[in-house]
Subunit: 129 residues, 4 copies
């Protein structure tokens, strides 16, 4: 599990951590049941305070992405969502519009975006259903 922290970023360290773990899970690089590095180990590797790593782990646990078992370590949880379909789709629409807005400003064309999305979806692990 490789993690890169950019101390100069305006994004908080614990959030950089969360983003990277979420992405690794979404791409199947981290599987349910798999163990993450301990708070102490990761904090010393990244040269940040243990509390900072613990906070990232804690928030991901609250999201339901991780399980922590005191004395054992931190693990990837089984996927499950308790959110309603309605609230999930609403959130997705917001994200989609933000994403397309940025793409416009970066000077892409609509075709380029659709094509990039189509290609890139294959790298992620979508739920079967």
């Amino acid at each position: 599990m490789e993690i890169q922290i950019d101390a100069a970023s305006r994004q908080p360290i614990y959030r950089q951590l969360m983003v990277q773990i979420r992405e690794a899970v979404a791409r199947g690089r981290l599987q349910p049941g798999e163990r993450l590095p301990s708070v102490r180990e990761l904090s010393s590797r990244l040269v940040v305070n243990p509390n900072t790593v613990a906070r990232g782990y804690r928030e991901l646990e609250q999201e339901g992405l991780l399980n922590t078992r005191p004395g054992k370590g931190v693990f990837i949880a089984e996927p499950k969502t308790d959110l309603t379909k309605r609230s999930r789709m609403k959130r997705f629409q917001e994200l989609l519009d933000e994403f397309l807005t940025e793409a416009v400003h970066l000077g892409l064309t609509g075709d380029e975006v659709v094509s990039a999305v189509t290609t890139r979806t294959e790298v992620f692990e979508w739920q079967n259903r």
Copy 2:
């Protein structure tokens, strides 16, 4: 130009302003050369501190999206991208991966994402070239 501020949001007001202006430009609702409401007018309409509106405008100007002509007002700038094609594509890839990561965790399928993106791109104003 309608702007909705959610005072209860965790996102700073000046950022909500920026997001909505950027999106209006991306969707062609605001055209280059068009004049925005003055800081004083907009701040009184939204019932927020003038400093807050000024800050949103200032940061959008730094991004190159707006031009302020002292004594005249604030205008949508002509589109120009000073980032290199290479660095813009790199940024786009990052955004794409974050977007797809969230979509996975929201429980969508790859097909649903591609289909939603394809439909929604039609609503935005892409550069011709």
Copy 3:
């Protein structure tokens, strides 16, 4: 807003805080939109570290019970739940069994429990629907 902290309790301080705020909201003593004491004020009143109060507030925000607006303060959020009916009822059944188990061990009778529940529900603010 009165809050009592028992430093000798085995329950963490930030959780004692959460329990009391949740109860005040459930009983309608704190209404949506109402402002809570600032982190600094409450921490000095309770003689605990500001981080401890901030953590309680932060977790209640993640639950959707509070909104914090940096620079403004902390407020009771509008009620809304994005959880599915199914997951909410499952959670309720668990709580009910734990509650009844404790009641048995405290030596109450079934009738006493039903009667106490019936009386006490009137003090809480149930959603209209």
Copy 4:
């Protein structure tokens, strides 16, 4: 005596054990005088550390729910309540308010709660007196 341990739970294993034994007693599935499996037997069946089982038993003994007779085994104790009626009712009121608080936030109505409690009390084993 069936016991289910959820290794992924955030609740400590010895506490999961305690909760389930308490509930089994409360529902009359375990009767006073009945013998529990030995620490070694139960720990090997649940595939947990014997210390963990021993700790659960020890704490239940301190609560007065179990009696350990060295060399003989562990037994369900005769019900006896050393708390005063007054302090037991005080504790019950606390639990009741916490329970109702959660029910409010889960979006139930008062009627639903009373009805669920009324139905479910029939499944538990209340003291006769």
